[in-house]
């Protein structure tokens, strides 16, 4: 062997391809990337909800639910920049992204006690959660303002939204019922007070299919819970539901004397009347104003008091104040007190339209000139309230007058005042009568009459005595005769007289005979046939001596 054999140098051939070892990390990287991708891809969108408070909400724990199904989770809770609200960042599940409409509503579900009852008791154990009500809008949104309370009407509920306005002192609340014939058909969703108009506006929602009940002639009125009506038929008491009695509510209907009207399909403003009866008082839209000028006191007459003609209401009193330029000093002796009234042509049989007003005004002017007058009448003896009554003063023609550009209806004294005046006149006449000489004359006459009666009494007593005596005398004579006859009869039967002796003898004989018959009768009593068949004769039991 040769040491000197040289080794062939190694031939280094560079790799032309990547080593298969790299497959492992590559696969690992791919898998990891895929997982990361899937993770981020499956995440739903983040949304931001503004609440006033984050009470009961915990990041990473509080869920967002729809109909008790988890649709999201709160991830972050932070204060807003102005520190007035709380911003809750939540992630909605990817497959629930359709819930995020522009009008979707979010609110926190907690235990609550309200007019409609107790809700959210389950959250005592599970903790509060955020409920979502998906909207119906086509636009999507990711930033929302959360509601502090559950919405009265769920978003997307079919129905009709209305605006109700009320100038009443008492206001309705969110959630108050809207009833139709006692059935709940809607609720008050929102309350807004306009200080400039001094009116309260309510956003009302009428659920379908009851929204078809709302027509152009529908009237709304407040339910006071308890209504008492006193009429000629007696006392009527009406109550609402328990909820309306506690918290109040609104009812609606078309008045009896009005046609149904056209169905409303979009938001419209309706007035809320204070009561059902007030609907009929304010159902006419057009009226004419007149003024009555009174010389007498108008105490008891208030705005709203009816104006009647022969018992039919044709209007009402609108003003009883004295804020007119014509009146500078009410204390002046000849100042007349103005009362403004509304006369509604609709109540008089005319159409309730604006076109009819001039014609009605002309007619009334003609009637006024022929004697139509107004007067105060007592409406209620208990309360002393008054009303205006129109009547005719026959045979009187008057020139038309105006007060503060309003046509004046001349006045008559009210019936009550007329009666009082008559009584006053009678009293004056009585007072003016010369009563003292009359009284003194009457007194003397009475005294003489008394004396005469006394004399008459004496005379009648004497006459009575005389009559008695004569009667007695006759009676005495009659009795005397009777007694004499009795005495004579008694003498005939008295002891010693023949009749008496014979009577006595007869009695003795009868006694003796009966005594004789006594043993026979005893025998026959014991043995009836002893007359024929002799009975054994028993000897008498003889007493024995000692």
């Amino acid at each position: 062997m040769n040491d000197e054999e040289t080794l062939n140098p190694a031939q280094v051939t560079p790799l032309k391809t990547i080593s298969k070892v790299w497959l492992i990390p590559i696969v690992a990287i791919l898998i990891g990337s895929w997982m990361i991708f899937v993770h981020f891809n499956s995440k739903g969108p983040l949304i931001r909800i503004n609440f006033e408070t984050a009470e009961g909400i915990i990041a990473g724990k509080t869920k967002i639910k729809l109909k008790n199904v988890d649709v999201g989770l709160v991830e972050l809770i932070e204060l807003s920049k102005n520190l007035e609200t709380v911003i809750i960042t939540a992630r909605i599940n990817k497959h629930d992204i359709n819930l995020l409409k522009e009008d979707s509503q979010f609110w926190v579900v907690r235990p609550r006690i309200g007019n409609s009852g107790i809700s959210g008791l389950g959250t005592l154990f599970s903790g509060a959660y955020i409920e979502v009500a998906p909207g119906t809008s086509d636009d999507k949104n990711s930033s929302f303002v959360g509601l502090e309370n559950e919405p009265v009407t769920a978003s997307g509920t079919k129905g009709l939204h209305l605006t109700l306005e009320s100038g009443a002192f008492r206001s309705l609340n969110i959630g108050d019922q809207i009833l139709f014939h006692g059935i709940e058909v809607g609720r008050i969703e929102f309350v807004y007070f306009n200080p400039k108009e001094r009116k309260v506006y309510y956003d009302a929602f009428i659920e379908s299919p009851y929204d078809d009940l709302i027509t152009s002639n529908t009237k709304f009125w407040e339910l006071n819970g308890f209504e008492v009506e006193l009429s000629a038929d007696g006392i009527q008491v009406q109550t609402g539901t328990l909820e309306t009695m506690i918290s109040g509510g609104v009812s609606f209907d078309v008045p009896n004397n009005m046609p149904p009207g056209d169905i409303i399909s979009e938001r419209k403003v309706f007035t809320v009347y204070p009561s059902k009866n007030s609907i009929y008082e304010n159902q006419y839209n057009h009226s004419l104003q007149f003024v009555l000028l009174f010389k007498d006191s108008i105490r008891g007459l208030k705005p709203g008091a009816p104006v009647e003609y022969r018992g039919i209401k044709i209007g009402n009193v609108t003003r009883t104040d004295i804020n007119y330029p014509e009146i500078s000093n009410v204390l002046k002796k000849d100042t007349l007190i103005p009362v403004m009234i509304n006369i509604e042509p609709g109540r008089m049989g005319f159409e309730d339209t604006e076109n009819i007003l001039p014609q009605v005004k002309n007619d009334l002017s003609e009637l006024i000139s022929r004697g139509l007058r107004g007067g105060l009448s007592l409406g209620n003896l208990l309360t002393g309230s008054k009303y205006i009554e129109l009547e005719y003063d026959e045979g009187v023609n008057t020139k038309l007058q105006y007060f503060s550009s309003y046509l004046v209806i001349p006045t008559l004294q009210g019936q009550f005042i007329q009666i009082m005046n008559k009584i006053s006149k009678i009293m004056d006449k009585l007072y003016s009568l010369p009563l003292e000489p009359v009284i003194s004359t009457a007194d003397q006459t009475l005294k003489q009459l008394t004396m005469t009666l006394q004399e008459f009494g004496k005379t009648s007593r004497q006459l009575e005595i005389l009559l008695k005596q004569s009667t007695q005398q006759n009676l005495v004579a009659s009795i005397k005769n009777s007694l004499e006859a009795i005495a004579k009869l008694a003498v005939d039967f008295s002891e010693g007289s023949l009749t008496h002796e014979e009577f006595q003898n007869t009695l003795r004989f009868m006694k003796k005979t009966l005594r004789e018959l006594e043993p026979l009768l005893r025998q026959l009593n014991q043995k009836p046939n002893s007359l024929i068949f002799s009975s054994q004769k028993n000897n008498d039991v003889e007493p024995k001596g000692q």
Partner: protein, 197 residues
């Protein structure tokens, strides 16, 4: 035929008729001298009127009564009172009282004594008969009273006489003696009441 029947009936009746025993009649005052009618003006003493005697019911019959045992009474058929017993008793009592009293005059009738009558005597007899104990008993009560005064104080009495012989005659004698004793008792009580007044 009819005549024959009538005759036969008469004979039948006659044959059935029995002879009746002899009936005896008794009086209480036969041995007394009857009083002559006295005129009012002759009498100076106060008069006491003897009212009609009231008898117990069982005594109001003609036959004399006999008591057997404590509860049985029998009436004699053949021994009878000659007059009504109440009259006999009244007569006897008046006789006895007049005989024994010098202060008063007793009368049965009040007809002519209208002005002089002081008192009235009322007598009720409850027992007036013989018993099987060989006694003759009278019992009852009496009282004196002034008319229109109303004061009546009754006095009860009961007298018993032993029978020493058989028969009703002896009984009547004893009853008469008992009445005499009764009259003495009456006088005693009236004098006593007079003394008290």
């Amino acid at each position: 035929m009819r005549k024959l029947l009538i005759i036969l009936s008469i004979f039948t009746l006659l044959s059935c008729a029995s002879s009746s025993e002899k009936v005896r009649y008794y009086s209480l005052t036969l041995n007394e001298t009857p009083q002559l009618n006295i005129i009012q003006s002759d009498i100076k003493n106060p008069v006491i009127i003897v009212e009609p005697v009231i008898l117990a019911r069982f005594l109001r019959q003609q036959g004399l009564v006999f008591q057997s045992g404590n509860y049985e009474l029998s009436t004699a058929n053949y021994n009878r009172w000659a007059e009504p017993l109440e009259e006999l008793i009244a007569k006897k009592v008046v006789q006895e009282l007049n005989q024994k009293s010098s202060r008063y005059h007793f009368e049965k009738q009040s007809g002519q004594w209208r002005n002089n009558v002081k008192l009235h005597l009322k007598l009720e007899i409850e027992k007036f008969h013989a018993t099987d104990a060989s006694t003759a008993i009278i019992a009852g009560r009496y009282w004196f009273y002034e008319k229109n005064m109303g004061n009546k104080t009754p006095h009860n009495f009961a007298f018993s006489k032993k029978l020493t012989a058989d028969g009703y005659l002896h009984t009547v004698e004893k009853l008469a003696q008992a009445l005499s004793q009764l009259s003495e008792d009456m006088l005693h009580s009236i004098s006593k009441s007079t003394q008290e007044n």
